[in-house]
Structure formats: structure tokens, C-alpha cells
């Protein structure tokens, strides 16, 4: 490997160790790195300095993202056994919890990380609000952040129905009843969300599709723009 190119990066540090460990994965990394300078890019990113005023409160956004990764991981695993039909949904959830090895753990993590993700979303927003970090030129990033909050709450609302037990059934009944209070279009919106006049298989299928396909696609778009903007504009200044 072209060691002299990276001479200034060759000091012994934890990051150095990590990158060396990745390099051990073999010949693919070497030739790939020669062409794309992956080591350098990785080091630059991992070692990017942050401003002096940054404190632990600035971690909430990152924690929210970490929880999202946890949700994506455990969610995919739950998908391997979950069955989105009114006859099988509850049974399959019980099966995951009681029979599948570590199924209780995956379901528990998915449940708690979901709650924590909403909490950390709001904590992150509080920090941004009280530091005034939402102001121009970062106002568009606040907008994508609000969209991310909406998507997160959408995840929570649709995911709540999927176990198809009493609490999820009635919570969804109440939740989808809310828009019907709106004049003129209210009932239409309610019907559209439910896929019919009451909570049925159509609702479960709809919520499942939204939870595992539509919202993940939406959150990816907003996450990427959120991250690109913060990278472009840097962390907001001290108070």
C-alpha cells in the first residue's frame, strides 16, 4: 500500500487500529483503496474536528440516528417471522416472542428503541430550538428535521397496529377516528387511512406496507438531506 502518501496519518491511534483492522479483510481493500483512497476519506471523516462549544447535548441527533439503525436492524429480523394477516399476525408475534431464539429480545429492542427514538427526536429538537440553531441558513434543515419527526411518529403509529392485539386494534380505531373530526374531507381521509369503513385486513395490510416500505424510503430521503445539509453548513455557532 502507498504508505508514504499517508505518512501524516500513520501515527498510532485507535482510529488507525480500526482502519488497519478493516484493511486486514484482504486484497480487495488494497486495490480498491489505491483507486479510491478509502483510508484517507475514512480518516478524514472520523477525525473531523468539531467546534469547541460542542457538548453532550449535541449528541441527541446522533443518538436518534443510532436508534433508527437499531430499528432497521431488528425490524428486518422481525420481518423474517411476522405474518401480516388478521388471522396470523398476533399468533406470529406470540411465536416470535415465545419460540424463536432471542425473539423476545428482538421484539423488546424494537419496542424500546421505538419509544426512545421519539424521545430523542424531541430532545434533539429542544436542543436545536434553545440554541437557536434552526435560524437561517439552517432553516431548511429544521424543515427536513420536522419531516423526520413526522416520519418517526408515522412509524410509531403504523407499527402499533402490527401485533394485532386489543390495545393496537383500539388505539388504531381511536387514532384513525381523529381526522374524521375535520369538516368536509374528514370522513374521506379516515376511510383512506383505514382502507374501508372500519379497521380490517385492509388496514393491517396498508399499515404494514407503510411501516416496512413507504416510511423507510421517506426517512432515507430526509435523513440524507438532513446529513448533507449539516455537513455543508457545519455545526451551529456558540450561544
Amino acid at each position: 500500500m502507498a504508505d508514504n502518501e499517508h505518512k501524516d496519518l500513520e501515527k498510532r491511534t485507535s482510529f488507525r487500529e480500526i482502519i488497519n483492522l478493516i484493511s486486514l479483510t484482504g486484497f480487495v481493500y488494497g486495490p480498491l483503496d489505491d483507486r479510491l483512497s478509502i483510508r484517507e476519506a475514512l480518516e478524514k471523516n472520523l477525525k473531523k474536528p468539531v467546534p469547541d462549544h460542542v457538548n453532550w447535548l449535541f449528541c441527541f441527533g446522533g443518538v436518534t440516528f443510532l436508534l433508527f439503525i437499531v430499528q432497521a436492524f431488528t425490524g428486518v429480523l422481525l420481518l423474517m417471522y411476522y405474518q401480516p394477516t388478521t388471522a396470523e399476525a398476533y399468533k406470529s408475534v406470540v411465536h416470535i416472542t415465545n419460540n424463536v431464539p432471542f425473539g423476545w429480545l428482538m421484539r423488546g429492542i424494537h419496542h424500546w428503541a421505538a419509544n426512545l427514538m421519539s424521545v430523542f427526536c424531541l430532545l434533539h429538537m429542544l436542543r436545536v430550538f434553545f440554541y437557536g440553531a434552526y435560524k437561517a441558513p439552517r432553516d431548511f434543515n429544521w424543515v427536513t428535521g420536522v419531516m423526520l419527526l413526522c416520519v418517526t411518529l408515522g412509524f410509531g403509529f403504523t407499527g402499533y397496529l402490527l401485533p394485532w392485539n386489543q390495545i393496537s386494534y383500539w388505539a388504531t380505531t381511536v387514532g384513525t377516528e381523529v381526522p374524521s373530526a375535520m369538516p368536509v374531507a374528514g370522513d374521506l381521509i379516515k376511510m383512506l387511512i383505514r382502507g374501508g369503513s372500519d379497521i380490517s385486513q385492509a388496514t393491517l395490510t396498508r399499515f404494514f406496507a407503510i411501516h416496512v416500505l413507504i416510511l423507510p424510503a421517506a426517512i432515507a430521503v430526509f435523513l440524507i438531506s438532513h446529513f448533507l445539509m449539516i455537513r455543508r453548513q457545519g455545526i451551529s455557532e456558540a450561544l
Partner: protein, 147 residues
């Protein structure tokens, strides 16, 4: 970054590096193990009957008909004729399609490449390289007991 350790001294930074490395590695191994155990299909996780013997009601298989069941977690075919009941593996040894009973011709045929078998599993024709596995089957009162 500061030098992590001077000479052979096992410094604080080196110690912390090791602790972090140990922690991250154990966490990663644990995650891999838990995920593997979760995904690996086992008797419990796929929830199918893997017991040594399976019983189905006699009325489910009228004379001259057949029925596919799961026996020891694999597809099996139960055929009832005048001579009695027969249980065989339903997986064709050629390319793994599920075989059918043809009462008119009195033989078992694979729908994919027309391998033919008799009720003892012997190959009568077609591309099957070996016979179908057979299982013990008997009528006990009103049930067919396989295995």
C-alpha cells in the same frame, strides 16, 4: 494525537484502547451470535411437527386418493388403495419437485419431468436416479399412523 505509550510502558491510552477494543469486539460477537441463533431455522422457530410419528384421520384419505403431509419436517405423500395405505417421501430424487399419485395409472408421477414410481418407491421410468424413500404406514381404527 499524542503518542499512545512511551517505550514499553503500558500507558493509560493503550489500556483504554484495549478495553474499548475488547468491549466492541465482545458486543459484535454477541450480536452475530444472537442474530444467527434468531435466523437459524430450528424445530422451534419454524414451528412444524418434527415428531417421529404423525397421525391423520382415515376419512381425510378416501380409497384411491392421496394426501400430502409433513413428516419429520419434510413433505410426504400418503396414498390409500385397496391394498392399504402407503407413505413415501413426496420429494422427487431427480430435482426435488413434489410427486403426485395418479389413481388411473396406479402410479406416482413427478409433475416436473415425469419420473414414475410405484407404491414401494421403486423407479418405473423417467429421470429419477434413485427410489423414493418409504415410511411405515398403517391403519389403526380411524386414523392412519405414519412412522
Amino acid at each position: 494525537m499524542e503518542e499512545s505509550s512511551k517505550g514499553d510502558v503500558f500507558g493509560r491510552r493503550t489500556f483504554l484502547d484495549y478495553m474499548i477494543g475488547f468491549g466492541v469486539t465482545s458486543w459484535a460477537l454477541l450480536t452475530v451470535y444472537v442474530t444467527g441463533a434468531y435466523l437459524w431455522p430450528s424445530k422451534k422457530s419454524i414451528g412444524t411437527n418434527t415428531e417421529d410419528s404423525v397421525s391423520i384421520p382415515l376419512s381425510d384419505v378416501p380409497e384411491g386418493s392421496s394426501r400430502k403431509i409433513r413428516y419429520k419436517a419434510n413433505p410426504a405423500i400418503v396414498v390409500r388403495t385397496k391394498e392399504g395405505v402407503f407413505a413415501l417421501s413426496a420429494v422427487c430424487p431427480h430435482l426435488g419437485c413434489l410427486v403426485n399419485w395418479h389413481d388411473g395409472e396406479k402410479l406416482i408421477e413427478c409433475p416436473c419431468h415425469a419420473a414414475k414410481f410405484d407404491l414401494r418407491g421403486n423407479v418405473l421410468g423417467g429421470p429419477a436416479p434413485k427410489p423414493l424413500e418409504t415410511f411405515k404406514a398403517e391403519i389403526k381404527e380411524n386414523v392412519i399412523k405414519i412412522g
